[in-house]
Subunit: 280 residues, 2 copies
DNA sequence: TAAAGCAACAGAGA
DNA sequence: CTCTCTGTTGCTTT
């Protein structure tokens, strides 16, 4: 369970913006060409000597806007680190990409499984597969209001968990935070969207906001590292990864179940499939 | 079974090109606004007084190129007629669109169920959903060579019938002609592409060409009408729609089966699932 | 019955 | 645990 989701990404991108804004890229070292979206030579040429205008995020993507309209889109996939070093001493033994800044600081990007570092030239931002169709990002996106969320749900089919995990609906939620989001809203992951009452949809919206906000305030997951290689302080899940431990509300033992192709942790008492609404 | 496929469309578009090339549109009457892709007023404005440069086809789409880069994309969907009248007497009682030419002739377009009449302005041809992703068109498209066909099949999964019916793979084949195409090639509709031998792929290519060419030579299906409201002369299917009649090769009774969501007519002896190759 | 787009979903691959 | 690509199914439309 080493997957950065919205809180970790927000944290990282804000730290990156703080540290890197207005600095200039000097050198690029591509250690694994599969992670990038063009030949390394083109990639290096496009990025070299570019100035960082702003670092932001959309869903699980960290987006660095450089001058001349160039963008660097970073997705840590199944987990990884972005670490800023004061100099080139004591770099990690393994990383996929190294970016040296003109001020001697060094950024290393490493993932332990799939991840993408895509460079996008001026004008190609809208056609990038990864971000073109992303849904709104909770917490940071002013578009993500309660009314907007309820509207998004209108007429949609399928299970609530599948909906939340699809980045084209809402961007930034993964299989870690979705566990507590559903528990807080007292909704079973397999509930069909069509069966959710208005009250449940409202509860779900609040739960998304509160769960993610809470994690951001704690600097993200304790299992993840930030830009300074420091872990976050969030580790007290309500039900996530707490199989056979008591539900914090009713003390019923938490179950690990399979919903679709992903695992879910639920309190069978608080998140009934039949209790809170028919699930025909 | 009233669906125009490639032979009928080629026939119609060639007749339309013959009759309408260089003529000028005078008036448009939109009887059913749902068939078109913009408000009727815009549609009429875009087409009025435009000159027909050429009528051609891609797959099941009839494409009329007008001057100033405007295009009229017609898809007869589940069946319909395009009829040219010498004047405005004796028009059909029902039609979705009427186009009056400056030379007094009248074109009526009618479908008995879904169909599309889309007008596309200069520059929007490539982004039109219906034609942007179409595969090559057999018979008329010089790109559709045997080598190209074999290459298209490389690495594809799923059943041969589903593949042939998907317009994004090959454009123009529907559930009518596909029956005899598969019979001629002695391939069961549910055979997986992965299990086809090179010889079978070659046979399939020949069968597509010969089946469609043969139908074009006969002016298309006897159940369909051409631009002059005359029926085609092709009605002697080999196995299509001949349930319980003897196979023309081996006399085994032809079966109607369900493959996926469509019906198939096969000779169970000539088109075995197990005989011509494993279908794991 | 058929045509085609879309949404949901499952499986494979990177 | 991630996301993309395919392919399949089921629903909808006039």
């Amino acid at each position: 369970m080493k997957m950065p989701e919205l809180p970790e990404i927000i944290n990282l991108s804000e730290q990156m913006n703080q540290e890197l804004q207005h600095t200039i890229i000097k050198d690029i070292y591509v250690m694994q060409e599969k992670c990038i979206n063009m030949p390394a030579a083109d990639f290096i040429k496009l990025l070299s000597n570019k100035r960082v205008e702003q670092v932001s995020s959309r869903g699980k993507w960290i987006i660095t806007r450089l001058d001349h309209g160039v963008g660097l889109f970073l997705n840590l996939g199944m987990g990884g680190n972005v670490i800023l070093h004061e100099n080139d001493h004591d770099l990690p033994s393994k990383y996929q990409l190294r970016i040296d800044m003109h001020d001697k600081r060094v950024l290393t990007i490493s993932f332990w499984w799939f991840g993408y570092i895509h460079c996008v030239d001026k004008g190609d931002w809208g056609s990038h597969k990864g971000i073109a169709k992303l849904g709104p990002t909770p917490i940071r996106d002013p578009e993500f209001t309660q009314v907007h969320f309820i509207n998004l749900l209108q007429g949609r089919k399928g299970s609530v968990k599948n909906y939340l995990l699809n980045q084209n609906n809402i961007a930034g939620i993964g299989n870690v935070y979705v566990q507590d989001i559903l528990f807080r809203a007292k909704i079973h992951p397999d509930r069909k969207l069509q069966t959710l009452s208005e009250a449940e949809k409202f509860l779900l919206y609040r739960s998304i906001i509160e769960t993610l906000e809470g994690a951001v305030k704690l600097g993200g997951l304790a299992y993840e590292k930030d830009l300074y290689n420091q872990p976050g302080r969030f580790k007290d899940f309500l039900v996530g990864y707490r199989e056979d431990l008591p539900c914090p509300i009713c003390k019923t033992l938490i179950q690990k179940i399979k919903s679709g192709s992903t695992a879910s942790y639920i309190c069978p008492a608080c998140q009934g499939l039949d209790t809170n609404g028919a699930n025909v």
